[in-house]
Amino acid sequence: MTINRDRLKSGLVQTIIYAILFVGALWAVFPFAWMVLTSLKGYAEASAAENFLPTRWLFSNYADAWNQVEYFPRYFANTIFMACATVAGVLTTSTLAAYAFARMRFPGRDTLFIVLLATMMVPFEVTLVPNFIVIRNLQWSDHYEALIIPWIASAFSIFLLRQFFRAIPQELHDAAVMDGCTHLRFLASIVLPLSRPALITSGLFTFLASWNSLMWPLLVTNRPEMRPIQVAMATFIGDAGTQIQLLLAAVTISVIPVIIVYLILQRWFIEGIATVGIRG
């Protein structure tokens, strides 16, 4: 009887947990479902947003969206390259800088770190023109360097990684030094494997920011062949109306690579998050 009651209680708890998870999953999936379904509607129905499901399923919207943008494949390739290169750059520079701030002792370290953090409060618009002048003087306009190099150092990522690195026990470092480990070796062999969650988080934020960027690429490029996917999105927004069904079809196409990247990396991503919980 007690066993049955326990089972019943356990089953009830499980049901409640799954119900909450189901609602959470629906909550997460809803925007994507809305985006895909709206992309299959006609203009009036998409604008009205009264029906969740399309009355007519217009798969031709995808062909129309693709054909309306002349350089769609090129925009795609540019964005993927730009985002991946920026992530690689940010992780490299941030790891080294964060390690120095967390583990190495040098004069003015903490002051320098505060100055670095302060740069996060400077709005993008303030640095827009000076950065643009630098790019122009370097003759990087219409080159990938202009799209990538200015963004491969991130104060936010350095801050994030520094906090993680500081939490790694000092004993590990002392033991490694006793065994003749250099700073670089300790970073590569011990710190980075233990900091996978922070690295993934930092990489993900950088990837998304790079994927969504529009103003900076518009500023430093003139040739369509050098521009990213967000430019394609902007072309569906007109002066007196927005072809929302075509815009969302284009957005759906543009997020497919991101979903594929996530599906490939999800094991490491989830593992990374799980590791944080266990170690805590």
């Binding site: 996060m120 993008f124 023109v129 002048i133 920011a209 902007a234 007196a240 927005t242 805590g280």
Partner: protein
């Protein structure tokens, strides 16, 4: 656990500082376009005189001696970008030494940011599209040239016949800068009233209202709980307000451009009228941008007011809705004065300060865009209105296929532009906010006008 907490805190921090972080600007894919319709000559030069369709003389082309490349920055994307590039090819055939490079630089807000940054960096384009309030800021930076001399140049300028042919609302004078012409337009849109003729006919009306009293009568006869007479954009509608003030014989800014004029009786009458519409429940506020187009296509609103640039969107929505609205049309806003006045707006083109060869080549390109045949090609691709009365001849087939456009073409001669000063942009916001405050019953019409006028005059007084 500590690291987990740090991760959670950092994620929260990232979200809160994302807007401030020096990272590339993410743009929501569903961002609504910033439409800042402004335009045309100052209020002092109300261009109500119909231009004469005189065949323009062909000015001798002063081709540059050596090849010149002209960088033309635009806010035109997709099919409009393609149409401009095609015109650049045609121009190249007639002017082999001039190569025009047409470059889309984002919407008008992005374009303004890019041009401003390029000016600051000392590498501006040779010629750019932009709204007059943006161009006003370029003038302030001493980055654009006045076009008066080039327009009068006997070799490359406009002839007398040209000037008679061009609608005055396409020539932008800037009263705050010596009333010089700093920009010209090869396209304009018009503020019009869209009407559902099915609903009007069912209520016994044979034509759209021509006076504001007739408008109210139509509303009283047709309005039902689920069919309002008018839908107002949720952030107000400054161009509609300006058009309604024009229709009552008023203006939005004083003749010298130093103070607002919408606080005079026509402006007050307009706001009182808007108040009446909401008090009598003839009008509703739109829940989201362009909802009036959608509701109009579904037969859920009698009248909407907006740009003729919306015609293709209305047509598309009505067709897509399966013919719920069969008979619809456009008309000038009802008016209480004898002479018709319509609000014309849209971006213009300014030539930037570079060197004489480039400036001349850029001007020739601008003049080409305003010519009859190229302008007609542009119209066919975009449904905007052209700069010249004579262009109508080249648009016979287009007008036959688009009769609503043809109707509106006849009202171009009554066009009046909106102010050209930089402060017009914030003033538009103050007017919009005043309209919303009245619609929501939070302010009386008089207080709303007074408040908007004070803020606007402060903006005008700011150097």
């Amino acid at each position: 656990m500590n690291k987990y907490l740090v991760l959670a805190l950092v994620l929260m921090l990232a979200v809160t500082v994302a807007a401030c972080a020096p990272a590339p600007t993410p743009v929501p894919p569903t961002a609504v376009p910033v439409v800042q319709p402004t335009a045309a000559p100052p209020p002092t030069t109300a261009p109500t005189v119909a231009p004469t369709a005189v065949p323009p003389t062909t000015a001798p082309t002063a081709a540059p001696a050596k090849p010149v490349e002209v960088q033309f920055w635009t806010g035109q994307s997709g099919p409009q970008d393609a149409a401009l590039k095609k015109l650049a090819d045609s121009f190249k055939q007639k002017n082999p030494n001039i190569t025009v490079v047409v470059t889309y630089q984002g919407n008008y807000t992005d374009l303004y940011k890019k041009v401003s940054a390029a000016i600051a960096a000392g590498s501006p384009p040779d010629i750019t599209i932009g709204y007059q309030n943006d161009i006003s800021n370029y003038i302030k930076s001493d980055a654009v040239i006045p076009l008066d001399d080039l327009m009068k140049d006997p070799k490359i300028g406009f002839s007398d016949a040209d000037m008679k042919d061009i609608f005055p609302a396409f020539i932008d004078k800037y009263p705050q800068y010596g009333n010089k012409v700093y920009s010209l337009a090869f396209m304009r849109s018009m503020e019009v009233m869209y009407y559902n003729n099915d609903l009007l006919k069912a209520a016994g009306f044979t034509k759209p209202p021509e006076t504001w009293d007739d408008f109210l009568k139509a509303c009283a006869a047709i309005v039902k709980p689920d069919i309002p007479c008018y839908e107002m954009p949720g952030s107000g509608a400054a161009s509609t307000f300006a058009d309604w003030v024009f229709s009552r014989g008023g203006d939005v800014v004083s003749a010298d451009g130093k103070t607002v004029a919408f606080d005079k009786q026509p402006g007050l009458d307009t706001m009182n009228f808007l108040n009446d519409l909401f008090v009598k429940k003839y009008a509703i506020l739109q829940a989201k941008a362009y909802q009036d187009q959608t509701d109009f296509s579904l037969g859920k609103v009698v009248f909407t007011f907006g740009s003729t640039a919306g015609l293709p969107y209305y047509a598309s929505a009505i067709k897509d809705a399966g013919g719920k609205v069969k008979d619809w049309g456009i008309a000038p806003a009802p008016h209480s004065i004898k002479d018709l006045v319509v609000d014309l707006y849209g971006p213009s083109v300014a030539v930037l300060k570079t060197n004489p060869e480039k400036q001349q080549a850029a001007f020739l390109w601008l003049k080409f865009l305003m010519d009859k045949d190229p302008n007609a090609e542009w119209v066919k691709a975009t449904s905007y209105f052209p700069a010249r009365a004579s262009t109508k001849d080249a648009l016979a087939d287009f007008i036959k296929a688009n009769p609503l456009y043809g109707n509106a073409y006849g009202w171009l001669q009554y066009g009046r532009g909106e102010p050209t000063m930089a402060a017009w942009n914030p003033i538009r916001n103050f007017i919009g906010a005043a309209m919303v405050a009245v619609a929501n019953g939070k302010m009386t019409p008089a207080d709303a006008i007074k408040d908007a006028a004070k803020k606007s005059n402060d903006a005008l007084a700011t150097p």
